[in-house]
């Protein structure tokens, strides 16, 4: 054995290999790269999801096609275009192709669009939301690379003026091939986003429960770039702040209100409120035994007095809408809450909006999931209608959030709920209209500006689509740790029913300048020509060199 090993090292071939490898490695590393022929950029994919067996968005994510301009034959090609072109052209039959891809360049500063552009952009979004296609559709921010790609594609699309030029172009013209480079795994069935539930207990077994609900995921036509700051980042932040503010009352037994409070950050809200539905199912199964359950409830006779769903309350409007399935009865919790909200903020336009619940289509507001199961619930929002495009827009950016407004709304809700659970008189301390003094349960800066700011930065500024596993996991982990500072926290994995989530919200695309295959033949001809010349020189070299040497010897020396 030993002999063999030593023999192996004696082998001269080994030395040879080592030397060759070393040389190759060193020589290779010192070589510098020449002109750029390929660029790589991040592109964000069009949404893709399935509800009740209906597919929406783009079914594909692989791209490896030659780039063409909008309007040329697009089968097995990548249409490269700008968002304006896409708006002005009729592209309905483009979506009908079975294989191919579309790459749309959007402005890189969607935060700074002027009003006209903003409107146009919303139109584009509306268009994209409607799209159902087999093509892989990507969107990328416009930059210098994009400009050069577009330029190349458009010059190629122009007809050459003469036949010779046309021939030359087809022989040697640059084409651009666009390929998706990341091999991302599809989401597996094991992927379950989490519901995060925070709980403040009254300590009394008979007390009722008030639930605050907000879904934390975002959605838009291009899920990878929409941070969903208002919908529903503001809801997530509001719940955290409410938890922080109200937890003070639960700190000592003497001030503890006789209500349990639940704070639910639910998953998959944009996918027909999967997380909410899951939580209600779990709750209704009546989980016996077990002290605390994942749902955050402790006993099966825990009763929900009212579920307050919060969505989009960070926008500067002068009103707040309470959405409900039907007008609540006069003495119900919802009606009391509504009256309290109006009394506390007389200047604000607080309106009740009722909308019949449809059992066959997807729910339009989160509270409907509770209503379907006969649990009292309302949604608070600054949006008047569930079909408002702002609910899933790319332009729902952190800059559209008005922190002051958000803080004001959080404070308003906190006061109203506190008044309700502590059983304070509805009309305020005095029913005398002449008394104008402001009375509040909360200290002036109970709603902490800095804390809200921090929560916005942490939870409302980054895209967190349900299809992006990493973003979802990080947001739930952060939520759980943030909420754990104020109350008990429970997590439960949500099974997604009657819908399907697809991953890959973004990808890296590589654009490469390539020559047509025929051009390789031209090069081959060139190589053969060069080698023939070389052959000719070589065969005559001996004579030539000898001749030259003789001539030099004669003439010079």
């Amino acid at each position: 054995m030993q002999e063999e090993i030593i023999d192996y090292f004696r082998n001269p071939a080994l030395l040879f290999y080592v030397t060759l490898m070393l040389t190759v490695c060193v020589v290779n590393s010192s070589h510098q790269v020449g002109d750029v022929v390929e660029t790589e950029f991040h592109a964000y994919r069009l949404q893709q999801y399935e509800i009740s067996g209906n597919m929406y968005g783009s079914k594909n994510h692989r791209v490896s096609y030659e780039a063409v301009s909008l309007g040329s034959r697009a089968l097995r090609r990548t249409m490269v275009t700008t968002w304006r072109e896409l708006l002005t052209h009729d592209v309905d039959d483009m979506w009908a192709y079975s294989t191919g891809a579309v790459l749309v360049f959007i402005p890189d500063n969607i935060d700074e669009l002027n009003d006209i552009d903003r409107k146009a952009f919303l139109d584009l979004e509306a268009k994209l939301l409607e799209v159902k296609t087999d093509l892989a559709v990507y969107v990328a921010p416009y930059n210098d690379d994009a400009a050069s790609i577009l330029n190349d594609v458009n010059t190629r699309a122009e007809k050459a003026p003469s036949a010779v030029q046309h021939l030359l172009q087809s022989l040697s013209g640059n084409t651009i091939s666009i390929t998706s480079s990341d091999q991302l795994p599809e989401l597996t069935d094991a992927y379950k986003p989490l519901n995060i539930v925070g709980r403040l207990s009254s300590g009394d077994r008979a007390s009722l429960t008030i639930a605050f609900v907000a879904h934390y995921d975002t959605a838009s036509a291009i899920p990878g770039i929409s941070p969903g700051a208002d919908s529903n980042g503001s809801g997530v932040v509001a719940l955290l702040e409410l938890l922080a503010v109200l937890s003070k009352f639960y700190d000592s037994p003497s001030t503890r209100p006789p209500y349990n409070l639940l704070f639910m950050w639910t998953a998959g809200g944009k996918l027909n409120y999967q997380g909410t539905r899951h939580w209600i199912d779990e709750f209704q199964k009546g989980i016996e035994g077990g002290d605390f359950l994942d749902s955050g409830l402790n006993r099966k006779d825990d009763r929900i007095d009212l579920a307050i769903c919060i969505e989009s309350i960070g926008r500067k409007t002068d009103g707040l809408y309470m959405h409900a399935g039907k007008t609540p009865a006069d003495n119900s919790a919802a009606a009391q809450l509504f009256r309290r909200l109006s009394t506390i903020a007389p200047k604000k336009k607080i309106e009740l909006v009722t909308k019949k619940i449809s059992l066959t289509t997807a729910s339009s507001w989160e509270h409907e999931k509770f209503n379907i199961k006969r649990m009292p619930a309302v949604t608070l929002s600054t949006l008047a209608s569930p079909t408002d495009p702002a609910r899933n827009s790319i332009l729902d950016l952190p800059s559209t959030l008005d922190e002051e407004e958000l803080i004001e709304n959080v404070r308003l809700i906190a006061e109203a709920v506190l008044g309700y659970i502590l059983g304070l008189p509805e009309t305020g301390p005095s029913s005398d209209a002449r008394i104008k003094s402001e009375v509040s349960m909360l200290s002036k800066d109970a709603v902490d500006k800095q804390r809200v700011h921090h929560f916005i930065r942490q939870f409302a500024s980054r895209p967190r689509p349900i299809g992006d596993k990493r973003a979802t996991e990080s947001v739930t982990a952060n939520l759980a740790s943030a909420a754990a500072g104020y109350g008990q926290v429970f997590k439960s994995a949500v099974t997604i029913n009657d819908a399907k989530v697809f991953g890959i919200t973004q990808n890296r695309l590589v654009a490469e300048r390539v020559k047509p295959a025929v051009f390789e033949l031209v090069i081959a001809a060139g190589v053969i020509g060069y080698l023939s010349v070389f052959y000719y020189i070589t065969t005559h070299s001996q004579k030539t060199v000898e001749g030259v040497v003789a001539a030099i010897r004669k003439s010079i020396f």
Binding site: V37, F519, I523, A524, V527, T539, V545, I552, R553
Partner: protein, 225 residues
């Protein structure tokens, strides 16, 4: 298309060596095995050179280009001359001219393989088209001229009575890499420009070598008389 491109580049880089061996008449004087020996000699010399560089210039692999350190670094190329000399005197047989061509050919082939093969395999097979690979392959011919000149001058430097004519041209050869780098940096020459310069420089060196060679032959002839 991509593999075809690799084949094209491969042919362009290595076919010249084959053509020179096959058709310049050298195959009548020497076996292909001698060329392989020369290639082995190249590899061993490079190993020695690497050790030398690693010992004396360990931290100079930084960014940027400055003339003096680069010059000192390229002084290690003198090892090439020593290696080539040992190779031609000890491992090759035959007339001086045969040793020169065989040594240069094997040496150049090994050089070309080490410099280009992996690069082409990795780069030229990509989908993106770049003239760079064609240029790299064409460089191979310029290198061939340069290395055969180097072999010739190395042969002469120990045998010629007047070393004063031989040594400047030899220096031109040895420091060719340094010259290319300097020109590339100073005049920011890239692509076809740099390639043209390399060809001009190689042809000039080869021509000077022929002149030196003739002078050497003349003096030798006179001595014999």
């Amino acid at each position: 298309m991509s593999f075809f491109h690799f084949i094209n580049c491969f042919a362009l880089s290595f076919a010249p060596y084959f053509i020179v061996y096959k058709y310049s008449g050298i195959n009548e004087y020497s076996s292909i095995w001698k060329c392989a020996t020369a290639s082995g000699g190249y590899l061993l010399t490079q190993l020695a050179k690497l050790l030398l560089l690693a010992t004396f210039f360990p931290a100079l692999d930084g960014e940027g280009f400055s003339i003096l350190p680069e010059f000192l670094k390229s002084c290690a190329d003198i090892v090439d001359v020593i290696g080539l000399h040992l190779l031609m005197t000890n491992f090759l047989a035959g007339k001086g001219e045969v040793r020169i061509v065989v040594g240069g050919l094997g040496w150049g082939l090994a050089h070309s393989v080490a410099h280009r093969l992996v690069l082409l395999w990795v780069g030229a097979r990509g989908t993106a088209f770049s003239w760079r690979w064609i240029q790299t392959s064409l460089d191979s011919s310029a290198d061939l001229m340069m290395i055969v000149s180097l072999a010739c001058l190395t042969w002469m430097i120990t045998r010629s009575p007047n070393k004063t004519i031989v040594s400047p041209v030899l220096a031109m050869c040895v420091f060719s890499t340094f010259v290319y780098q300097t020109v590339q940096q100073v005049f920011s020459l890239h692509g076809w420009g740099l390639l043209a310069f390399r060809f001009v420089y190689s042809i000039a060196t080869a021509f000077l070598t022929v002149i030196v060679y003739s002078a050497n032959r003349t003096t030798n002839a006179r001595k014999n008389e």
